[in-house]
Symmetry: C2
Subunit: 161 residues, 2 copies
Amino acid sequence: MLGNDYPEQVCSVARALEVIGERWTLLIIRDAFLGVETFDELVDSLGITRTVLARRLAHLVEHGVLDRRRYHQRPDRHSYHLTPKGQELFGVIVVLTDWGDRHYPHPPGPPRLIRHHGCGGSVSAQLTCTDCYQRMERGDIEAVPGPGLLAAPGDRPDDRR
Amino acid sequence: MLGNDYPEQVCSVARALEVIGERWTLLIIRDAFLGVETFDELVDSLGITRTVLARRLAHLVEHGVLDRRRYHQRPDRHSYHLTPKGQELFGVIVVLTDWGDRHYPHPPGPPRLIRHHGCGGSVSAQLTCTDCYQRMERGDIEAVPGPGLLAAPGDRPDDRR
């Protein structure tokens, strides 16, 4: 069931945050990206309670971000893997890693390097125009109301973010 | 002061989330991106209490994500603007908008379009290698322990995520 964290918001960012905006969730997605896959490994990696982890994982499985697989029977043990829908969130992890590295550097250097394993170069998330393929700077981008906002109930569409 | 939401994590994603991971914060950044700038406009847009908004804004100003400007005296009124450090987070907003649009579509269409105002094309965040400029797919990317992780205290570096 879709959460209702931001029920008043006619906004795709808000919808996305209802799925992945809870405390710990983006770190679970980071771990899945890093290959931390079993429930017990996730508990160790995150240092959170089993109850909170189970709740977060169930939410992500329900929304098709993670796929749950049984890798052991009696007792049942499960591992969790990013679905294609979950993999589309890599960009978020890459931007946050980059931003954290740049603004909150660890004195010995970045804790983790995200690389192109073909050539060993660093991977970054670049804002790109899908029509002209130019790389976008802040001044090149505009956000305009789309059909979903213009059709939303309310007094004035411009008031709705 | 840096928050301590994820004190055990030697990870730039965790550091970034201590600054922008609180409930509402990414929607405040989205609003700043859309040009919603004054305290009162933000209250209207988000529908949150003035106390919560003031706390979130203070945290973002303290971390240099937003810049606070007085635009009216007696009574003092302030507006909030993304700093260059804050603008580096656009990629997160773009990925989440994209992802929300794709997986939780509004029947009439996307609420908001993020466009290149030069040519009118859509803007997306593409994972790109900064060395060979190739566009990355999931299989092209690897995350490896960096100097900050290898230097972290703990039994085995591989245990730290």
